[in-house]
């Protein structure tokens, strides 16, 4: 596949989910499509930077800096721009990863010293607000705030815990990690933040559906979401958690189950987008390295 064809296919995969409507779509299919779009965004940015660095050969890069200010300014500027872009991308990636590890370790420390043991193997943390979460990456734990244990009735608590168990069982944490890393890499492209929000929304929808399939009461889950969201909205620190669409989820839970819209067509698109990501990731090194002869391009 030529570089141009690869870029065109990647751009199509990136734009595709923005053109579709997922209100009544299967959330798993929507997660795959948004995840593929995020993966392609990351690959496009990495490919662009890597391509620039390959075109501007490292030896030429060093020589341009060594000969500055004698070397032509456009050479120095071009090399500096490519090098700075690559460095910024690498640093922001490492920084984001470090922040995730830091937050995960902080949560793990908290979970190891809980205030007590709650229902269904959960651990109790302080707080008069309604907080329920699946905490941690490698060994996720159900976390429930003391406020949730007093404010939620039996059905609400059971449904909320079923929702969190669905997050754990369906390994949503790894999708969230993937989305975060793609967000960092794909940040230069417009729409990346929106894609991450949509992906998170679909993950929450998937957990809602899974909980209801697991015999959780959908109205009780909707009620628990309302109680949790109402408290969070008054606290800016916690309101930043999660994705958009809380009201949309409650509206969906209020309705009786309706069949998914265009399931076959969307699944075919999701399969195609996934194949495109895998293909692009595998062919990226070959495509980038074959971009041209750097010596011929930069001159002796």
């Amino acid at each position: 596949m030529t570089a141009a064809a690869l870029v065109a296919a990647a751009l199509a995969g990136i734009v595709l989910p923005h053109l579709l409507r997922f209100e009544r779509a299967d959330p798993v299919t929507a997660v795959v499509l948004w995840g593929a779009a995020l993966g392609l965004r990351a690959l496009v940015v990495v490919g662009t930077v890597a391509g620039a660095l390959v075109l501007l050969h490292p030896a030429q890069l060093l020589r341009a800096f060594a000969e500055w200010p004698c070397a032509p300014h456009h050479h120095v500027a071009g090399h500096a721009l490519a090098a700075a872009g690559g460095l910024a991308l690498a640093l922001s990636f490492v920084w984001a990863l470090a922040r995730v590890v830091q937050a995960t370790l902080a949560v793990r420390r908290l979970v190891r010293r809980p205030l007590g043991r709650g229902p269904q193997g959960s651990v109790i943390v302080g707080g008069d607000d309604v907080v329920l979460a699946a905490a941690g990456l490698t060994r996720p734990t159900l976390v429930v705030s003391a406020g949730a244990l007093t404010r939620l009735d039996d059905a609400e608590l059971s449904a909320a815990l079923a929702h969190e168990r669905a997050h754990i069982r369906r390994r949503h944490r790894w999708i969230l990690l993937f989305a975060e890393l793609c967000r960092v890499l794909g940040r230069p492209l417009p729409g990346t933040a929106h894609a991450v929000r949509e992906l998170r929304f679909q993950i929450e929808r998937d957990a809602d559906r899974s909980a209801v399939r697991d015999r959780a009461d959908r109205l009780a889950l909707a009620s628990a979401i309302c109680k949790a969201a109402t408290g969070a909205s008054t606290r800016p620190g916690m309101a930043a958690l999660g994705g958009d669409g809380t009201a949309a989820r409650v509206r969906e839970l209020l309705q009786e189950a309706v069949p998914d819209a265009h399931p076959v067509r969307l699944r075919a698109l999701a399969a195609g987008a996934s194949a495109l990501v895998v293909g692009a990731a595998l062919s990226l090194p070959v495509t980038v390295s074959g971009l041209g002869d750097p010596v011929a391009l930069c001159g002796p």
Partner: protein, 127 residues
């Protein structure tokens, strides 16, 4: 399915407040410590106390013929918001990866709509 009691959460909160004031107490002592409009039947208070014990918020011990309930965590611990405190320095993106939560962000535009939806949900649950 569990019987829907919309005020269950409110009664649980009141009972926890009463238990903290008393330090510990029997069902009748807790019932007497509740505000007048929450002083329901003995059985109701006992059910809620047992539920709170099963959820890990209260401990139970037998003293003679009666069961005495005591809080497992102090009021200060209850109010501590330890999760929020722990993640105070973390970016919102890192929090989202570390915690898959029940709810998402709630834009201000959604707050009003969610209030209306909460009423609708409560009405549906009462049916």
């Amino acid at each position: 399915m569990t019987e829907v009691t919309p005020l269950q959460g409110e009664l649980q909160t009141q009972i926890m407040a009463a238990i903290w004031r008393l330090q510990d107490g029997t069902v009748e002592q807790v019932r007497q410590a509740l505000p007048p409009h929450h002083q329901g039947a003995y059985n109701t208070v006992q059910t809620v106390l047992n539920r709170l014990a099963e959820r890990g918020l209260l401990s139970r011990r037998r003293e003679g013929h009666v069961i005495v309930y005591a809080p497992r965590l102090s009021e200060a611990e209850y109010l501590s918001r330890s999760m929020e405190h722990t993640l105070r320095g973390a970016s919102s993106e890192a929090r989202q990866v570390a915690l898959a939560q029940l709810i998402g962000a709630l834009p201000r535009s959604e707050a009003a709509e969610l209030g209306r939806l909460a009423e609708e949900v409560a009405a549906e649950r009462m049916r």
